[in-house]
């Protein structure tokens, strides 16, 4: 697929990136960046309070307000398309929609998810009916209204950007002022309440901010996508950190980046609807984070689980070598026998012994393997832990003898020296130390 505007020169892209692509493009870029920041900040708490989808309901419920405000203003002889008329209308009907969700939920029979879906679709239906009435009664005049559905970033004026910037500033200041209370109320409502924090008031303030950002976002990205401004940046930030303040900062940053990139892309590639491009840019940041975030990302998770699996395979192989050598009397164990003992495939057993021989734990010779002194020290430690834990489960946790081996297999890798010492003491007190417990003397350079 070719892009709609064939190969824009790099200079174009650079101009757009540095806000030198004309007045309109600059205004739009600044506006969407500010919107991204506001959405990122407010969205963080909407996410923590599990209100993310409320923004979606609110956005859809604003349509009848927009249409109604237009009808009333036109009937009174004023211009129905001025934002000063439409935005309050949107806010009022959006808030009414949220109240309706609460009322439906309080019947006890309609759960929040159904209540949101009902209000979202029915109020949107009302808006669509009103729009069709406007369309029939005043030809062509409603043209400006349907932009609220998809958004019309390209037509952003200086006033719009000022409105968005003000909204962003208000959101940042209010969140900054009640940060502590919001944090309390988001994580532990009952504790917040007994600490004297007006939880209800805090909730209302947050809701007001969500309304503010959603209504401002309507103009830019449209009501279908408004929810993305509030939800995608905090979810992206959540992938990178567990600390609230860092999440807040990252969320604002990701929101700003999404808004900025989206506006730049839509300025360079004509015909790309800016609202959708902004959402796609934010989605791109999210996709990158899903893959690359160190703790939560797919790559990090796969790496950690591979390391864990390898560590466990290594421990099992060492213990199997020790046990087999202990049983047969001689140090050499055939790989085949080793595989059978562990219930693993010969191939994976060959692989793990090769790795162990490379790291100096095992010596290999003609399909057989033996522990080196270093390997033996480590194997003794592992076997000792395994048997201690097995005995502990038998003695203290009433686990059946046929089941302890498997349970011990899982836990033995996680036993630290403190716990092992504790196990030993507890078992010795009961006089229940296992019979064949290998001595473990820490050798120089033996594994941790």
């Amino acid at each position: 697929m070719t892009l709609p505007a064939p190969n824009p020169a790099w200079a174009d892209l650079l101009d757009a990136l540095t806000l030198q692509r004309g007045y309109t493009a600059t205004v739009v870029t600044l506006g969407t960046t500010a919107l991204g920041i506001a959405g990122g900040i407010v969205g963080t708490f909407a996410l923590l309070r599990k209100r993310a989808l409320m923004a979606d309901t609110l956005a859809h419920a604003s349509l009848p307000g927009v249409a109604g405000a237009f009808m009333i203003a036109t009937a009174l002889g004023a211009s129905g398309k001025s934002l000063a008329v439409l935005l309050p209308g949107a806010a009022i009907s959006g808030v009414l929609g949220v109240l309706l969700v609460h009322m439906l939920t309080r019947t006890g029979r309609i759960r929040p998810d159904a209540a949101m879906a009902v209000v979202l679709s029915v109020t949107f239906g009302l808006g669509v009916v009103l729009l069709s009435v406007i369309q029939k009664s005043s030809s062509g005049q409603q043209a400006g209204l349907s932009t609220f559905i998809y958004g019309q970033t390209a037509a952003m004026s200086r006033t719009d950007v000022l409105v968005i910037a003000c909204a962003a500033a208000v959101a940042a200041v209010v969140i900054g002022l009640i940060l502590k209370e919001l944090t309390y109320a988001s994580f532990d409502r009952s504790h917040a309440r007994v600490s004297g924090i007006p939880v209800g008031g805090i909730d209302l303030t947050l809701m007001a901010l969500v309304v503010l950002v959603t209504v401002v976002a309507l103009q830019a990205v449209g009501l279908v996508l408004a929810v993305a401004i509030l939800v995608i940046p905090p979810v992206t930030a959540r992938l990178w950190t567990n600390r609230l303040r860092r999440m807040l900062a990252l969320s604002a940053l990701f929101g700003a980046l999404g808004g900025y990139t989206g506006a730049v892309a839509s300025a360079v590639f004509e015909r790309l609807p800016a609202g959708s491009v902004i959402v796609l840019a934010s989605g791109g940041l999210l996709a990158i984070s899903l893959i690359a975030a160190p703790n939560r990302g797919v790559v990090g998770a796969a790496w950690r689980s591979a390391r864990l699996r390898h560590g466990m395979a290594r421990d099992h192989a060492l213990r199997a070598l020790y046990e087999l050598a202990d049983r047969s009397g001689g140090p050499w164990v055939s790989i085949h026998e080793l595989a059978e003992h562990r219930g693993a495939s010969p191939r994976s057993t060959r692989w793990i012994t090769r790795v162990l021989s490379l790291t100096g734990y095992v010596q290999r010779n003609a399909g057989r393997a033996r522990l080196t002194p270093r390997g033996e020290a480590d194997a003794k430690r592992i076997t000792r832990n395994h048997r201690l834990w097995e005995q502990y489960l038998l003695t203290f946790a009433d686990v059946a003898p046929t089941h302890v081996d498997v349970s011990a297999d899982h836990a033995e890798h996680a036993l630290g020296t403190d716990i092992v010492a504790h196990l030993e003491r507890a078992l010795a007190d009961r006089g229940a130390l296992p019979d064949r417990l290998p001595d473990h003397t820490e050798l120089e350079g033996a594994g941790a």
């Binding site: 979606d56 679709s121 239906g125 009916v129 993305a228 979810v235 959540r238």
Partner: protein, 447 residues
């Protein structure tokens, strides 16, 4: 055939049946979305299928037929998998994960649609959002009108209508044949899995069904209003019944009434009230469905606001009457068989409550007015003995079995004495003889 009828057949017949088929197939699927608390998944999928449809459209270069359904179903599955991925990795609630996934997919669809427009392929954005039911006309010549079931005439029925019938048939088949599995998986996913059918598979199948009915209904109601058709009938039915089979049938009725009523109002009602021409019928359907839900929420005999209010009032009345009798019984025990009205008002927490209770108790013959106040009749004394017995048995139970302190048991017992089930009578007599923890005698008899 007269002209009015001919116009109706040409202009309104197919849209009317299309609206009905769309509403019906959505309602059937929606029942399970509502039960599984996944209503918003309907919203998410109905938006997320857009890129699938447009991509299929761009690849196959045709507007109707299987490519669109395959594209939509694939996009639906991808959306569900992505929601799971974001929820698991980001450790956020599924609502937030949906709020992330569906706007991104919808935005991708919008951008793809612009590409389609650039290639002069007509795919209307507003049609996607709120449907164009009105355009599904049956283009019949006068000849064909005389034989509307001839193959020529049927060949002129818009393809979207047949797609809707197909999806309705599919959904009905799945719901009828898979009812048992769907029910178990909706109420108890773990049980479903342990019974041997994967609840995960069922949830993915449900996502595909939602995608299919969404696509089939696009022309009729559009991607946002389809949510109303998915959720409203099922929610309305749930307000009326507690049984799943009944709920399904009710939602079927509600959806048909919605389609018919909304069509009548939108197409014929709007001109009647002076609006020029008809209003958007998809929007009217959402509104009509919402109105039916509102009526059920207020007036349902089982879960409606009015019925609940009436039940609460009846309970409050009974409790105040029992409190009156209990108070008089205790007073009599202490040697004061007649209580003055203002004393009663103090003991019962309010003049209104006391006077109301006295009026009803006198009418029921369990209390009598005397010159200095109110006293119990013989029937009232027996009634009061039952209540006080229950109260003191509960106090005994709370002290002896539940380990509460004697000075903490009056208030819970005050509540429990009104819930006079067999439980109260099954409490063992106290170990200390027929006395409660405060040393008051426990009256004989049944509660």
């Amino acid at each position: 055939m007269n002209d009015t009828l001919a116009t109706f057949v040409r202009v309104d017949l197919v849209p009317l049946f299309a609206a009905g088929a769309a509403a019906l197939s959505c309602a059937l699927v929606g029942n399970f979305l509502v039960l599984r608390r996944e209503s918003m998944l309907g919203d998410a999928i109905s938006h997320a299928v857009l890129p699938g449809i447009v991509a299929a459209f761009l690849v196959a270069d045709t507007r109707a037929g299987w490519p669109m359904f395959v594209g939509a179903a694939a996009a639906g599955i991808i959306a569900v998998l992505l929601v799971e991925l974001v929820r698991r990795l980001g450790r956020v609630e599924s609502g937030a994960a949906m709020g992330v996934v569906f706007p991104v997919m919808f935005a991708a669809g919008v951008v793809l649609m612009e590409r389609a427009a650039a290639r002069h392929v007509d795919l209307d954005a507003s049609c996607v959002l709120y449907g164009q039911l009105e355009t599904l006309t049956w283009d019949l010549t006068p000849d064909m009108l005389r034989a509307p079931l001839s193959s020529e005439a049927l060949g002129r029925v818009p393809i979207e209508f047949w797609m809707l019938l197909g999806s309705l048939a599919l959904v009905s088949a799945v719901v009828v044949l898979g009812f048992k599995e769907l029910r178990v998986a909706s109420f108890d996913p773990q049980l479903a899995t342990s019974l041997g059918f994967s609840s995960r598979l069922i949830s993915h199948a449900l996502a595909v069904l939602v995608a299919v009915v969404t696509v089939a209904s696009f022309k009729a109601v559009g991607s946002i209003l389809v949510v109303a058709m998915l959720v409203c009938p099922a929610a309305t039915a749930r307000l009326i019944t507690d049984r799943l089979e009944v709920q399904l049938w009710l939602s079927v009725v509600v959806s048909i009434v919605t389609a018919g009523g909304a069509y009548a109002l939108g197409a014929f009602g709007a001109p009647a009230v002076g609006l020029p021409g008809s209003v958007n019928i998809a929007g009217s359907m959402a509104l009509f469905a919402g109105a039916l839900l509102a009526v059920a929420a207020v007036a349902s005999p089982t879960h409606g606001v009015l019925a609940r209010h009436a039940r609460r009032r009846a309970l409050a009345t009974r409790v105040s009457e029992e409190d009156l009798v209990g108070t008089l019984y205790r007073a009599e025990e202490l040697g004061t068989p007649v209580l003055a009205m203002d004393t009663l008002a103090q003991l019962m927490g309010g003049t209104d409550r006391a006077t109301g209770a006295v009026r009803r108790a006198v009418a029921a013959g369990i209390a009598a007015r005397e010159a200095r106040g109110v006293t119990l009749t013989d029937a009232g004394r027996e009634f009061g003995a039952g209540i006080i017995r229950t109260h003191r048995l509960w106090e005994t139970y709370l002290v002896e079995r539940a380990g509460l302190r004697a000075d903490h048991v009056h208030d819970p017992a005050e509540v429990l004495e009104h819930a006079r089930t067999e439980a109260g009578d099954r409490i063992d007599p106290p170990s200390t003889g027929p006395l409660d923890p405060h040393g008051h005698p426990i009256p004989d008899g049944s509660p």
